[in-house]
Symmetry: C2
Subunit: 218 residues, 2 copies
């Protein structure tokens, strides 16, 4: 029951509830680039990340994307169980950004647990409320922050995630994260380069002046 | 206990819990234009609308607004109790768009009820999940729908709320709903007028071709 450490309310379940989870929990290992959840497939359930990195994003009807959140070790995603929430209907996709290992508790069992256990119900509400805040933050960014600030913040976050100032990421891919067109990203990156903040080479963006990039974000 | 009909989980509470609510619930009548909640004031708690119309909106640091939702009779707002949710930190404002009568259950009591009653916890989660979906929808609109479609949808919604094709609303006010500048609204309304969809007179927008306006939204 290694996953118990990854499921914060485990200790608050009855032995019987724990047994029901044990009976159906799935453990999966997926390669980088694997789509583990989309709105057309069956609802995945509650996802708990053991290792790796997942990206949740929203997809428009005409195929445009915007990154909603990143999940790392010990993170739990309720969005992959959105089917169990009434009125939760939207295109949330989840893909593995790195080779990833995770557990999932099937949606129907999780739904039952929410309905019978106060601890699980409160936990799910807390997850949801933190998702709500993230979404609100994202919307404020999009509405009211100019693109240069958002791109600077994105590059700094990527650099922190990767632990490197040299980012192997295409302009197309960045556009997908930020809900914009590739051209817009390329134009702004060239401006950043002209200001000495980054250096662009084929397939790589190197942050050359972190401080200046950070000053853009404030 | 007239408000019981406005609080969907009332019947699932213990007599003691009901009594605690009875002891502290507030009934208020406010005039159109009153701000009943903002992020700097004390947390209002769970709001249940008896009569009238409330608008919840988000405010940026530099004073720009975007309407998040409208609350009518029997609607319940959890956003006014956002202080009881962990990690819920954002500037949600609530104002009365019409003379409004509502009840509020103080935040601290509601928080306690969520923690001790499975019914209340599940109910709060359902409210939150439907808020989340609304916010997601709003973001998709902003990200991916062009402004003409959004404005057409807004005018039609206003018309439905007011039960009239003649809307008494300023361009400034519409801009506040939609998170944009007054000029942008004026420009688009003039275009709508040139297409025969609306007629603009001082302080009033009259919808003259509802079908054409609707066809824009699809």
């Amino acid at each position: 029951m290694e996953f118990a450490a990854y499921f914060p309310v485990w200790d608050k379940l009855t032995p019987q509830q724990q047994q029901r989870i044990n009976g159906v929990i799935e453990h999966r290992t997926v390669k980088k680039g694997t789509y583990i959840h989309d709105s057309s497939s069956e609802c995945l359930g509650l996802v708990m990340v053991k290792k790796g990195q997942l990206r949740t994003y929203i997809l428009s009807e005409d195929g445009r994307e915007i990154t909603f959140s990143r999940l790392f070790e010990y993170d739990v995603s309720l969005l992959s169980a959105s089917c169990v929430m009434p009125d939760m209907q939207f295109n949330v996709m989840i893909e593995a950004e790195k080779d990833t290992e995770f557990w999932s508790i099937p949606a129907c069992l999780f739904k039952n647990l929410m309905e019978e256990s106060l601890a699980v119900s409160n936990y799910a509400r807390d997850l949801l409320s933190s998702n709500f805040t993230e979404l609100m933050w994202l919307m404020e960014q999009i509405m009211w922050k100019s693109f240069d600030k958002r791109l600077a913040a994105f590059l700094l976050e990527e650099s922190a995630i990767e632990g490197s100032s040299s980012l192997k990421i295409t302009h197309e891919r960045i556009a997908g994260h930020m809900g914009t067109a590739r051209e817009v990203v390329t134009r702004m990156l060239r401006y950043f380069q002209s200001e000495g903040m980054v250096k662009l080479t084929r397939g790589t963006i190197e942050i050359t002046d972190k401080k200046k990039l950070e000053s853009l974000c404030t």
